[in-house]
Subunit: 195 residues, 2 copies
């Protein structure tokens, strides 16, 4: 600001207009994507945590049917999934606030873009691996595996499996949003290169 | 080159030295990381594909021990893993060549950086989700799951499980390399911003 104010008196009577600063436009898109990311991770988290279902099942060696619950914390993959979604949800809150602050005060946008580009990639890795882990285990629950003798659980625990499937689908959406955010940060950096 | 040769005769006797182009330095690191990524994905792929092991096991209802093989393609998660590693390996070859071409001809480096930043994020998502899926299923093979009655397979198929574990560990390294590459592309874009 200071150099721009000081420069005109020394130049000609008709100073050339400075190039229009077509820059801060993308932070609005950034905020929107981050709010979407927050919604996606929160919904995914809630759907996964609320997946508990108790059914009467026949256990080998027990003469009567017993009530057996199915919960997400019966599998380490789903526990990791919940932890990853919680991290991504928290991250989306923090970066939404950061992105709003850049919209209000564009001076720091350059530094923020670099940080966003790095952290988005890291969170993308966490969300994608959690989606993969939960999806891989849920697929065994759905289809079983005849080679290893792992049985299907979804015919009995239908609501549990619906919750898992929905949660994993939404986390896949969150991963796609993170790829888009990563692209947006890089593109915003790219647009600022002058040469 | 042509403009630099033409410029000096019109300027003063002591032309001011142009600002040093401290820019193309990071493409050498980029090439090195991409070669590492190629090695990691290739080793991971080979170790996973070569994991076949045949053991004599007792099957229920069969009076004698029978030879039962364990192969990666008995689980959809491992098939996805192999496909993802093959894609990442091919991608690393293509981008290594692209990065070398930028080292030799730096004119196009700006465009390349943007493309790298986007595609690195996408391939990171694929590699991380494949690592998660294979890791989640391999963990069930290692520890079993008492809640669903899924049995361990690693006590019988020890070599198979060692291959799986090594392959997944190396693919995790590949995911870390992709995060670093993504950071490097963003940082290189960042360094070129003048304001």
């Amino acid at each position: 600001m200071a150099s721009e104010v000081a420069a005109p008196p020394k130049s000609e009577a008709t100073p050339p207009p400075p190039p229009p600063p077509v820059r801060e436009n993308y932070f609005a898109v950034d905020v929107a994507l981050r709010v979407l990311l927050f919604s996606a991770t929160l919904v995914s988290l809630v759907v996964m945590v609320s997946s508990k279902q108790t059914e009467l099942v026949i256990l080998p060696g027990v003469p009567i049917r017993v009530r057996v619950p199915a919960k997400f914390n019966h599998s380490p993959a789903f526990i990791y999934f919940v932890a990853a979604m919680a991290v991504a949800c928290l991250y989306s809150i923090i970066t939404t606030l950061a992105s709003i602050s850049v919209v209000l005060k564009p001076e720091y946008s350059k530094k923020f873009l670099l940080h966003f580009a790095f952290w988005d990639a890291l969170i993308l890795g966490i969300v994608a691996s959690a989606t993969g882990a939960a999806g891989g285990v849920a697929y065994i629950g759905l289809k079983g595996n005849s080679h290893t003798g792992w049985m299907k659980v979804c015919p009995v625990y239908d609501k549990f499996c619906r919750h898992l499937g929905s949660s994993i689908a939404i986390s896949l959406l969150a991963a796609v949003l993170l790829v888009l955010l990563s692209l947006l940060s890089s593109y915003s950096l790219y647009l600022r290169i002058r040469d």
